[in-house]
Symmetry: C2
């Protein structure tokens, strides 16, 4: 351990779990908090690396037990957050530590004309993870109840219909064996300002900046309201939300990693038994090895 005062007790960086009965406000949750974790950045970075071995083992078992089957278990990690909240860092440092053969990331951009001509879940559903896989959504169907609500592209009745459609969709995924993990990367307005400033001040970051990012930033209070409303309406038993404080990138990463670990532990995947006679195959193999 590089952090000499790190606690000896196991730590569980939980983020803020949103109960199904939640009546709070996302602005009451501290974007600089580190719930469930004592220690600073160095301890956090150690924690991320140390937990990779368990993540590896669980992911390989999930793949071994369920892939290629018509049905079976899977995990869907939905990652939402304002611009600069660190979604890319989650993909890179948490998801990127997992064997890429067992992970499928889908980044949802602004919908195409064809996608817009269908109901909002039409473009989402085909990207649900196959059995044995970890699917990751970088943005998701939640854009349709956040940006659409903020800009008034959908009225309240339509937004309510979408909440119901989302809950039904996620229940269906759960019923088919998918553990749905939803994380909101929660940054402060001040921290977003600093991160956008860095993008503007560094020529190698200009490509990540779009003038429209500032237009959206100017709507911050409306985004927070829409976020609170969406969390209240869609944190269900089947698919609860976790608000992950994200002003400290290192904390956000270990909290998302922890949720992924919990999802995999709840599946408790096992190495599948051989569907062949091991001794018979050993004998066949050894017969081919005499000439070497």
């Amino acid at each position: 351990m590089s952090h000499e005062h790190a606690s000896a007790a196991p730590q569980t960086p939980t983020g803020y779990r949103i109960p199904t009965t939640w009546t709070g406000d996302v602005l009451e949750l501290d974007p600089r908090g580190t719930p469930g974790f004592e220690g600073g950045k160095a301890a956090g970075v150690d924690h991320l690396v140390a937990a990779d071995a368990e993540l590896d083992d669980l992911q390989e078992r999930l793949y071994a037990q369920h892939h290629g089957n018509g049905s079976g278990r899977s995990v869907l990690l939905v990652v939402q957050g304002m611009d600069t909240s660190g979604k890319g860092g989650i993909m890179r440092h948490v998801v990127g530590a997992v064997d890429p053969q067992g992970v499928h990331i889908t980044a949802f951009k602004a919908p195409t004309d064809e996608e817009k001509s269908h109901d909002f879940l039409w473009r989402i559903a085909p990207h649900a993870p196959a059995p044995g896989m970890i699917g990751v959504f970088d943005r998701s169907h939640y854009e349709d109840v956040l940006i659409h609500k903020v800009h008034g592209w959908a009225d309240d009745t339509e937004i309510d219909r979408r909440y119901d459609a989302i809950n039904a969709f996620e229940q269906e995924l759960t019923d088919r064996g998918t553990v749905v993990v939803k994380v909101l990367l929660h940054i402060s307005h001040a921290e977003q300002g600093k991160r956008l400033l860095e993008r503007l001040e560094r020529p190698d970051k200009h490509w990540k900046f779009n003038p429209a990012d500032i237009d959206e930033r100017q709507l911050w209070p409306a985004y927070m309201d829409a976020t609170t409303a969406a969390l209240s309406a869609t944190s269900t038993e089947a698919a609860p939300w976790t608000v992950v404080p994200a002003d400290r990138k290192w904390y956000a990463r270990i909290a998302v990693q922890e949720r992924l670990l919990e999802a995999l532990r709840s599946i408790d995947p096992q190495w599948p038994a051989a569907d062949f006679d091991v001794d018979e195959q050993l004998a066949r193999l050894r017969a081919t090895m005499t000439e070497d």
Copy 2:
């Protein structure tokens, strides 16, 4: 450096480059060779990690410059090899070190009935990488000139037609801006025997074993002949082959990494210039930061 006798000169693990005029035999190439690299496993592992920084930088530049455009540069890494030759380890340790947002892996399994009803490239072409991306094929259209030739599912005339179709397809990809990198992971018959034995002896590896793997192993000489023929027919200026000795997994990984690096260096991607007025956006941003 953990390997105290490692050479101070930069090392270039090249694998065996197959010239367009090649008239050799794959069996003449040593599966335990380490062409272009002096040093053992420890030095090789160090080399893999040390080269990740350049790979990272080049990949991010490629993505920054070309993604989201209607046209632009990309890389396609085609990975072929017999069972147990280490394709999974390449995905894990070479491709897996790259930001997963910039990589798309496609694993080609036995074709479905629908896929079989089309010409062999029908299922391949849609997985060519988009601009800015690194596409990776875990097995590929080369199965259609290897397993099909070995089993006689296609006659010589048809195999020749497929070589031509492959060369035309890869030329077209190159013309559209894709650098096509093709690596054959070359293991010995003896090494495959050891690796299959490990899969049979360890219950946590049984899921990777299929009795048909031994059927294919019994056809080893025919696979080597088909490989030699495919390398001769399809190592073109546009898309040359590299035979990567793969009995030493650490060497195979640095040799594939080197080919990926060369492909990216040849593109020489640059940070794109801002398509907005930086000072104007800085002023707009700063106006939003006064309240924090």
